[in-house]
Amino acid sequence: MTAPGTGLHFKATKTLHTASGSQLLDIEFHLKQGSLLALYGPSGAGKTTILRILAGLTDTNTGYIRMNDEVWLDTGNLTNPSAQPRTDGNLPTQPLPGTRHTRLPTQSRSIGFVFQDFALFPHLTVRQQLEYALPKNADRQMVNDLLEMMQLQELQHRKPALLSGGQQQRTALARAIARRPSLLLLDEPLSALDDEMRFKLQDFIAKAHRFYGLTTILVSHYLPEIFRLSDDVIVLENGRIQKQGPAPQVFLEEKISSKFRTTGEIVDIQPADIVYIVSILSGNNIVKVIATAAELAGLHVGQKVMIASKAFNPIIIPLS
């Protein structure tokens, strides 16, 4: 645990209206300053709603949000028995004195939000989007730094309509960071991209997260992404936290919603272009799986692993 006052404290209840009727979102978690949390779960579980509540774009039934020393939301009715969430979390069951009925508007919260469809401003060029996001009196050099980090210099005078999906995503990420937020919220930003682009952009996210010392929450459906990027993962189902912890721990203990899963031993690792082909002996069969260099970290010949697949390429998870 970090000292009280640092990181993010989140606790909220909200009635969700989904296609399958209404259900109660009831979530509580604490996030260390500088860490990256992944939210995972089926659609309709409330992942995006949590980000929107954090950003102040969606209201709650009850709620308490504190980022470092600043209270963003305190509905003051957390002790209301009908809305009382679990009490095993890290939050004070009573809000801090004198902070009741706080609701900081979105523009006063130090957040960066990357929307699922990026929400770029159609009339502004890449550079202008970043300049707009820059706080008053901020060093304008930051725009150049971000353009360079996201490899957008060549495209800086283009408008969004003339950018590819990956370029739009990088612009949206750079714009969210230009605002110098303490909390970065990413709503499935990579879902529209092909695998190769995903890997590249995961690196951008990791780089920006570390470089700017951000606390980051990433909504993702994609396990390799979660394994690569996150310190912790929260699995949501029906508006509640099912599991919480580091990704390997969360996903190995229990059946994940994978279509295919088997165990085996790595017998060979061969480079092929920019990826590697990993041969795994599973029973009497050799399974060949493609992995990136980053995914290979910690894997070696002779190691026992689990292979799981959801929809695309299987992922390899060490068991020993």
């Binding site: 929400a119 401003f121 707009y132 605002r179």
Partner: protein, 223 residues
């Protein structure tokens, strides 16, 4: 020799009315579009009334309201020494009310068609609603702004019934082109009436042509 004064007066009236409507219409449409509430339908209906009401009905009630012998007109006359009946300022106010839907409705449709996350994205970047309106929303509403301004302008140039009721036909003060045509016809001065009528016809056609040209350009090129 044709007297240009009525045409000049019509132009002045239309420019002033359009300018006031822009200042009034943008916040009004934005407010109407911001959150859907049942009772806002009443406000929308009131704003759109001049589109369906005979201009003489509107003119009649405005005449009653502005009349220095009763109601608001009396208060204005008594406290501020302002008269609105048979004066140019009276015409401007009546025109603003009469053309309000032609400004507000295109803007309202424009605001509602903007993706909601443009506004949300701007707020997450720490920008106030006002900054968002000026720097993000309005630049993406160019087509609606142009349509609203041009329609209000054209509608004001073309109004007759309301002007007649409120302003009468005082040369140089309230005798706009449309009223002048009526006067000339009454006096069987057909060539003079034709001058004004032709001028209005040419003006109206040019304005509409401009709108369609702008719309065509907007549809072709990405923003």
């Amino acid at each position: 020799m044709i007297d240009w004064q009525p045409l000049w007066l019509s132009l002045r009236l239309a420019v002033l009315t359009t300018a006031i409507l822009l200042l009034l219409g943008i916040p009004l449409a934005w407010w109407l579009a911001s959150r859907r509430r049942q009772w806002k339908a009443i406000v929308e209906a009131v704003i759109s009334l001049p589109m369906v009401l005979p201009p003489s009905v509107l003119g009649f009630y405005l005449l009653l309201a502005f009349s220095p012998s009763s109601g608001p007109g009396r208060l204005l006359d008594h406290w501020l020494n302002i008269r609105l009946v048979f004066t140019f300022p009276g015409l401007v106010i009546a025109s603003v009310i009469y053309s309000l839907p032609f400004m507000v409705n295109p803007l309202l449709a424009g605001f509602r068609n903007l993706p909601a996350d443009l506004h949300e994205a701007s707020r997450t970047l720490g920008k106030s609603d006002w900054t968002t309106l000026i720097h993000i929303l309005l630049p993406n509403l160019r087509a609606a702004l142009i349509t609203g301004a041009v329609l209000s302008f054209a509608h004001t140039i073309g109004e007759f019934g309301v002007v007649m009721m409120i302003g009468g036909s005082i040369p140089g003060i309230t005798r706009v082109a449309s009223v002048a045509i009526y006067d000339e016809v009454q006096s069987t001065h057909y060539p003079e009436a034709n001058h004004y009528a032709l001028a209005l016809l040419a003006l109206s056609f040019s304005i509409l042509l401009l709108v369609y040209l702008i719309n065509h350009r907007h549809n072709k090129s990405p923003l």
